[in-house]
């Protein structure tokens, strides 16, 4: 296990033991901004040296995959889990989108093992933020013919949420500036990245532990879903990545993205677009089950699947 995961465990245990350890909310916000921007910039710098045509096609496939993921999650939630449409749509939206921090842990995992990957993967992180949320919300609102939805406002909410703005903004900056001009901020944005990730994971541990009650309420089905859905989505992602021609590393990361569930962009957008859904359910599954599962076991599983598919 990568040592960044220990920080998650430290936070988790500290909160469970009812320690008064607390990271200031503002530190959490600042780290979020930093991580999103840094991932974007890194991707943008790499993008500068690639053939855009090939990437454009891959990008389309990735967007389609993101839009398809909620279509797997929704029926499971609605018909097996017996959630109402709103909650099924809301949870599907979270799983359709991605977790940037899970991606960062995946990158650390590959780096530790010296596995190469397509350096423009951060582009896919940005592209995968939105489609799953949009499809999830549409599914969640299917039953409502009476009340109209302000779709333009929803789109703005999602597409201009801080996740996408910082990821795409960072990509654009890295791409426009290029490696040479980015060099003077390399230390700040790249070399400090992993340390900042450690602090962030410490806070995630605290948050997850303090939501443990929601999890208990959420019940057996959602707990199972929190493990099964990433396995399904991760396998799908690995397949898509392999077919799309990504390397083993890139395939692992695409699988990780597919398997991850959003807890920055999705909660904010879904809270406004599907107010009837109980946010405790989505977050219990995404944060309480899937996130810890992915960073401890999931990623190495997706790596194994990617290796198998490339063999």
């Amino acid at each position: 296990m990568d040592p960044v995961v220990y920080f998650f465990v430290l936070g988790f245990v500290a909160r469970l033991l009812r320690s008064d350890l607390k990271l200031p909310g503002v530190l959490y916000e600042s780290l979020t901004i930093y991580l999103l921007l840094a991932i974007g910039i890194k991707g943008g710098v790499e993008l500068a040296s690639h053939v855009y045509g090939a990437i454009a096609i891959q990008a389309l496939i990735v967007v389609a995959m993101g839009a398809a993921l909620p279509l797997i999650a929704f029926p499971l939630l609605r018909y097996i889990g017996r959630f109402d449409t709103h909650n099924a749509g809301a949870i599907a939206a979270h799983y359709g989108s991605v977790s940037v921090v899970t991606f960062a842990v995946g990158v650390a995992y590959l780096a530790k093992r010296g596995v190469e990957y397509e350096s423009y993967m951060p582009l896919f992180v940005a592209l995968l933020e939105a489609p799953g949320i949009i499809v999830g919300v549409i599914l969640g609102r299917m039953s409502e013919r009476g009340r109209e939805m302000n779709w333009a406002a929803l789109m703005r909410e999602i597409l201009l949420g801080k996740s996408i703005v910082l990821l795409l903004g960072g990509l654009a900056i890295g791409w426009l500036a290029g490696p040479a001009a980015i060099a003077p901020v390399k230390l700040f944005f790249f070399d400090l990245f992993k340390g900042a990730l450690c602090l962030f994971l410490l806070e995630m541990g605290l948050i997850v532990a303090s939501r443990i009650g929601d999890l208990r309420k959420a019940g057996i089905f959602l707990t199972g879903f929190g493990v099964l859905m990433p396995l399904l989505a991760g396998s799908a992602g690995a397949l898509v990545g392999t077919l799309m021609g990504l390397s083993v590393g890139g395939t692992t990361l695409l699988a990780t993205l597919a398997a991850s569930a959003s807890y920055i962009a999705a909660p904010a957008a879904v809270r406004i677009a599907l107010p009837q859904a109980n946010p405790g359910l989505s977050l219990a599954a995404a944060l309480g089950i899937t996130f810890p599962f992915n960073i401890t076991l999931g990623i190495s599983l997706y790596h194994a699947i990617a290796q198998f598919l490339h063999a």
Partner: protein
């Protein structure tokens, strides 16, 4: 300024709500006739569990609006009918006095 100023009766409306509603609430109170508003970052707990403000989904705000009775009632009823069912929201109203009544 030596003659004592008259104190005019107004209402102070307090709305405690999920931070996700801030933008909408600001638009709402302006539209419903308030001339101003004040927002504070808070944490708390109630019927819908503890909201510790540790991270985005857990943040709450307290909005304070000084206004006349009719506007206070209008806003309170709007908040009640639009958000009460699905969001962690608390509303109360109290009597206040102000020096410049034309301001509110």
């Amino acid at each position: 300024m030596n003659t004592p100023m008259k104190i005019h009766p107004k209402k102070l409306l307090m709305i405690i709500a999920e931070a996700a509603l801030e933008r909408q609430l600001v638009a709402d109170v302006k539209r419903l006739g308030a001339n101003g508003y004040t927002v504070i970052d808070v944490r708390g707990g109630g019927a819908r569990g503890d909201r510790g403000a540790d991270w985005d989904a857990d943040r709450s705000i307290q909005m304070e609006v000084i206004c006349d009775d009719a506007v206070a009632t209008r806003i309170a009823e709007h908040v009640y009918s639009s958000y009460f069912e699905n969001y962690a929201v608390t509303v109360c109203v109290t009597d206040v006095g102000v020096l410049r009544q034309e301001k509110f």
